[in-house]
């Protein structure tokens, strides 16, 4: 049974009772909430995920709840709580899903020190794992989303969870958060793409979450070896351009915005080295998504054969 089939009542009972379980691959998340709109939003974005029994171990137990007090009459708010901790200021009550997503990401980043946790999008095709490091303005999220919608398996749009021993990548499969213009770009290029509600006016502008597809969800416990590291660079009016990047440079760029590279010390260095040594690294400058996808397809073909 999939989350998409749950009724409003089912969702309400789970969110207000033992929790709704989201198994995102490398971790399970238990969600509690008394906010009325969150259940339906989760059903859209996580529709392809299985409905799981609440009697299980979860790495994260997250709660999104309405803030009490008189203020709710004037300006209703929701807050994110994890095990008694409130890591953020409350959000406006009409943005429960962005709050849940940010909160869970924050918590996962705190609790994933048994893996090297890169800040990157990760996809896979024909056994070729592709890491796209998150560099602000690079269009990593847009390209990751576009690749999933073009037949790639999505592992994560946010986290590259690297196994410390063998450097393989594990899925942390969540809704892909697209912002502002990206939402329209993806909508136009892939009219069938399934999005959660659009939330205007968050701290990062308008946010909407792209639902992971059934194939990615079904494979969420399968790790993959990284074979390509692509640094996307979106430039309006640029010609498509693919340039090789040296492994040392790629390594430096990869670890500099990892969540826990420094914390892991030598173990982090070893894991990152293993990953980078197994990869060919490129910078991909593009203006049109179609070109970037075609170029990535070509690289995958080359890598899978070679």
């Amino acid at each position: 049974m999939q989350i998409a089939t749950l009724t409003d009542d089912d969702l309400h009972r789970r969110l207000n009772g033992p929790g709704l379980i989201l198994d995102v691959g490398a971790a399970s998340i238990r969600v509690f909430s008394d906010t009325p709109d969150l259940g339906a939003a989760i059903r859209t974005v996580y529709g392809a995920f299985p409905v799981l029994d609440a009697d299980r171990f979860c790495e994260v137990a997250a709660r999104v709840r309405r803030v009490g007090g008189l203020r709710r009459l004037v300006r209703p708010q929701v807050e994110f709580e994890v095990d008694g901790l409130l890591p953020f200021e409350p959000f406006p009550a009409d943005t429960p899903l962005p709050l849940l997503e940010w909160g869970v990401n924050w918590t996962l980043a705190e609790r994933f020190n048994h893996r090297l946790l890169l800040h990157a999008g990760v996809v896979e095709k024909s056994g070729v794992g592709i890491v796209m490091p998150a560099i602000p303005g690079s269009g990593k999220s847009t390209l990751t989303a576009a690749l999933m919608l073009s037949g790639y398996r999505l592992l994560s749009d946010e986290f590259g969870a690297v196994h410390l021993d063998d450097g393989s990548l594990l899925p942390v499969l969540k809704g892909a958060a697209l912002k502002n213009a990206s939402i329209d770009v993806i909508h136009k290029a892939f009219p069938a793409a399934r999005f959660g509600p659009s939330y205007p006016g968050t701290r990062k502008g308008t946010v909407a979450h792209l639902a992971p597809d059934a194939a990615s969800v079904a494979a969420r416990h399968q790790s993959v070896q990284g074979r390509l590291i692509i640094f996307p660079l979106y430039q309006a009016d640029a010609e498509i351009k693919l340039e090789p990047v040296g492994q040392a440079e790629a390594f430096a760029k990869l670890v500099v915005n990892a969540f826990n590279y420094e914390l892991l010390g030598p173990a982090g260095f070893t894991a990152a080295s293993r990953l980078v040594r197994g990869c060919t690294c490129y910078r991909l400058t593009y203006a049109r998504l179609g070109d970037a996808i075609a170029e990535t397809d070509r690289l995958v073909l080359e890598t899978a054969e070679g």
Partner: protein, 359 residues
């Protein structure tokens, strides 16, 4: 998970879920990792649980490294100071290689300096770049006059806060351990420029920290420290327990020690030799007080529930323990001053709340 790790091998995943969330609340995951590893049980527990323990343990290792970096910087900054630098709590456990330092999430670095040299040391630290984290003049005065430490300091770019103490509990408290004795009996930590408290003082410091200088609420982590210290020192230190009892008497910390041993023996099965058992009988508080403290500590000392808010019993007990703490910490005049202030503030808040509701 801590006293009989082999018993959790049969836990259901729902039991694990609650256990890990609860242990996380009181920062005991790293310690649980260490216990499971040392008893070779890690592979017998679910993989996801293992990974969460490992994740926390890795934070602990990283923070221990930060402590060492901080101490190295302190050593350089105090190159011209020839007095003793006593490490307290986690920093000492870690450098001494004690079990109590394993899996611990180090939050700051604590030093003890003889009071006569405090100005000297503070000045040298400031010259070397440490800055106070407490700019407010009233708070500064509070620390300097009524506390047992300088206002916390931090050097720019350093991960760790530095707390420089001149004694182990606030000077206004009813208990007066002799700081000079703490320093004179301290012992060098091999291969370092630092010294650690005498083992008996080390345990008594942990005891005083909870039972003479806190409201005891959710302090299981501290009890686990005391248990680990007691077990380890008792095996390697001749006369450890006799020293503990003697020093407790000198420092007027017998009652706090009694409560600590009561909890350690009752909950954590800390082994106590016959001489200590006899002492416990002789020094027991009167029956009504014993009963009251046991029930208050039983309510408040364990971790809170991760899902439910505190029960009425726990909330009332916590209030009573807070009153006990304030009573212990403040002389009557200062207490009266603070109490009046608090009552006035509470009344004012209540009126404001009523006005809000009316509006």
């Amino acid at each position: 998970m801590l006293t009989q790790p082999h018993r959790c091998v049969d836990w259901t995943s729902a039991q694990w879920d609650l256990a890990i969330r609860t242990a996380r609340l009181v920062k005991l995951l790293g310690t649980a990792y260490q216990r499971m590893r040392d008893t070779h049980l890690l592979d017998a527990i679910p993989l996801a649980v293992q990974q969460q323990l490992e994740s926390s343990y890795r934070i602990s290792i990283h923070r221990a490294g930060m402590v060492r970096i901080e101490l190295d910087a302190v050593r350089h900054a105090l190159a011209d100071y020839d007095g003793p630098i006593v490490l307290l709590k986690g920093a000492a456990y870690s450098l001494q290689g004690l079990a109590a330092g394993q899996g611990r999430i180090f939050e700051d670095t604590d030093l003890l300096i003889p009071k006569s040299r405090l100005d000297d040391v503070e000045e040298q630290l400031v010259v070397a770049g440490w800055e106070t984290e407490t700019p407010d003049p009233y708070d500064q005065r509070y620390y300097r006059e009524w506390s047992h430490e300088l206002p916390p300091m931090r050097a720019p770019g350093h991960a760790m806060q530095l707390d420089v103490h001149h004694t182990i509990i606030p000077v206004t408290a009813r208990f007066r351990p002799d700081a000079a004795r703490l320093v004179s009996m301290s012992r060098p930590i091999d291969g370092t420029r630092f010294v650690a408290l005498h083992p008996a003082h080390q345990l008594l410091h942990a005891v005083a920290h909870v039972f003479a200088d806190s409201d005891c609420v959710s302090r299981l982590r501290d009890m686990v420290d005391m248990d680990a210290l007691a077990r380890q020192h008792a095996t390697i230190e001749p006369d450890f327990w006799n020293n503990v009892l003697d020093e407790a008497r000198l420092a007027t910390l017998e009652r706090p020690l009694w409560y600590a041993l009561d909890v350690c023996a009752g909950w954590l099965e800390t082994p106590l030799p016959p001489s200590v058992q006899t002492w416990r009988v002789e020094h027991s508080p009167p029956a009504p007080i014993r009963w009251l403290m046991r029930s208050l500590l039983g309510q408040c000392m364990p971790p809170p529930s991760p899902d439910r808010s505190d029960s009425i019993g726990r909330r009332i007990s916590a209030k009573l323990l807070m009153l006990r703490y304030i009573w212990l910490r403040m002389p009557p005049r200062l207490l009266a001053y603070h109490a009046t202030k608090k009552v006035v503030r509470a009344l004012r808040n209540r009126f404001t709340a009523r006005a809000d509701t009316a509006a």
